[in-house]
Amino acid sequence: MNLARTLPAARARRIRWPSATPYLLVGPAFLLLVVFGALPIVVAAGVSLTNLDIAGLGDPSKVRLVGLDNYVTLFQDPDFWASLASTAFLVLIGVPSIVGLSLLAALGLDHADNRFFRALRVFYFLPAITAIVAISLIWGYLYNSEFGLLNYLLGLVGLGPVPWLSDPFVARLSVAVVAVWRAVGLNTIIFLAALQGIPVEYREAAAIDGASAWRTTRSIVVPLLRFAILFVSITTLISWMQFFDEPFVLQKWPANATTSVSLYIYFQGFRFNEFGFASAASLVLFAIILVVTAAQLRVRRLADAA
């Protein structure tokens, strides 16, 4: 800085450049973010007040303003409520399962630091980076009612057969199992990172005071992880609201149309081509996610203050 001030050439450059350079640097990325991040919300809000469908897409003169009609119809549609109820149900069983299992796995992986334990981490991480479509197909094969491995194994011990994907209610659970199986890997890594951030002294002090390993985990480690636990709970909650790929591949239409709000929106938009109506549903989903996110920020602030 000081050097620059003493050299006239550099000073000239500093005066000439800052005007345009930063905007050229950030411009393209910022423009893309606005077009595909912020603008869609505005478009959805506008379109949700119209009757835009496939005919309107071809001939704009057919598009009419319908006020809040789409929202009224949406809140009267039992399928929409079914998709919300299904999401709530999946959240209720999915979030505790994912948080519990990944915390358990992370505590175990953190227990010892040798080559074996480090190698195990790789396995836990695999589902998080593989395509959900591929994972869904593999599970669909395991679940298959004619030649699936799961019913065969259950048959060996005299159980089953379970209608994994043919019964609508069981299918919803089967699809949730795949999502839980996949999410545990990623969240284990997050918990592991948080665990390794806990100073060794805390646990050493507890050990010197004669606390058992279980007691240390319960009274020292888990409370210190409350921020990570909260974080994982909220992101998992939001991810269930976006639940899409697994039920889309595994469940057949129309059973999957009410498995999540995202699928409901997809089918309204791209199967029935009711873009105005689907936009209204999109905005409602957005509002729900905003509320959850705001609650997260508030709880986080309370947790920080405590």
């Binding site: 593989t130 395509a131 890997g185 948080a194």
Partner: protein
């Protein structure tokens, strides 16, 4: 005391190993089944190892079905995603190392877009892309995810750690802004480029929702969309499905084994944003 500790470590290790088997078994089953003939992949009782090893299913994917084209399309989407990554890195540098009017407001807007998931924007984004005639093009498939608030945040955070003195020194030596970016900033950004690179590859390769929505014609399907259609056929062909799944999963596994360090770091960061 030592003995009981060793027993505990052994027990935990065994439980974790069981968990690892549950996690990885579906992938093993996928690869093994993809190498079986159709009849064997549907046989009860199932065989663990293929009794006759065959690559028929793979051959069928690439000769009878259009998976060669889907693979090319997927690689095209991945390549476009890397262009998006470069835009993110450059923008991260701009946000971190320059002061300019509206900088903080612009960055806040960028961060706010992280809260808006694709499931909320799929309908309006389809309408926007339809308006500019990008529906059913590879560019249209890649466009919505070219840039993300999260990767921009990561890039900016990294760029703030580059010392101003080095940039100033380069400018004093007469380097133009483009030269500074290419010869100083980029080489110093290798760690973040590695993390963003693997996240970009995995994201582009695996993406499903946008190709599904934007590619209305089978000529533009990606692997993920083509693969999802294998489950829509009337007679289920498990060997074929597992071969298709292997084509999608195995490259990612190879990337993972090679670049494990960067991937775990990237995902741990993405979790702790």
């Amino acid at each position: 005391m030592r003995r009981s500790q060793r027993i505990r470590t052994l027990a935990i290790g065994a439980a974790l190993a069981l968990g690892a088997v549950v996690t990885s078994f579906p992938f093993v089953w996928m690869v093994l089944s993809s190498l079986k003939p159709l009849s064997e992949s549907r046989s009860i009782p199932p065989t663990v190892l293929p009794s006759t090893l065959t690559f028929d299913a793979y051959q069928q994917l690439f000769s009878q079905l259009d998976f060669a084209r889907y693979l090319l399309n997927t690689l095209g989407v991945v390549a476009l995603s890397f262009v998006g990554m470069l835009l993110v890195v450059v923008a991260g540098y701009g946000f971190a190392k320059f002061r300019f009017p509206f900088r903080d407001a612009m960055f806040m807007v960028a961060l706010a877009t992280m809260m808006i998931p694709a499931q909320v924007t799929m309908i309006p984004t389809f309408l926007i892309l339809n308006g500019v005639h990008l529906v059913n093009t590879l560019l249209g498939i890649a466009a919505p995810t070219l840039v993300s608030g999260f990767t921009l945040f990561l890039a900016r955070q990294f760029m703030t750690t580059i010392p101003d003195e080095i940039l100033e020194a380069a400018r004093l030596d007469g380097a133009g802004e483009l030269r500074v970016l290419r010869s100083v900033v980029m080489p110093m950004s290798k760690p973040i480029l590695a993390v963003l690179g693997v996240l970009t590859f995995i994201g582009g390769w695996n993406s499903f929702l946008w190709p599904l929505v934007i590619a209305t014609d089978s000529d533009n399907y990606t692997l993920s969309v083509g693969l999802s259609l294998l489950n829509r056929q009337l007679t289920v062909n498990p060997a074929l499905q597992m071969a298709g799944a292997s084509v999608m999963v195995v490259p990612i596994l190879i990337v993972f084994v090679l670049l494990q360090r960067h991937i775990v770091r990237g995902f741990a960061l993405s979790g702790l944003k």
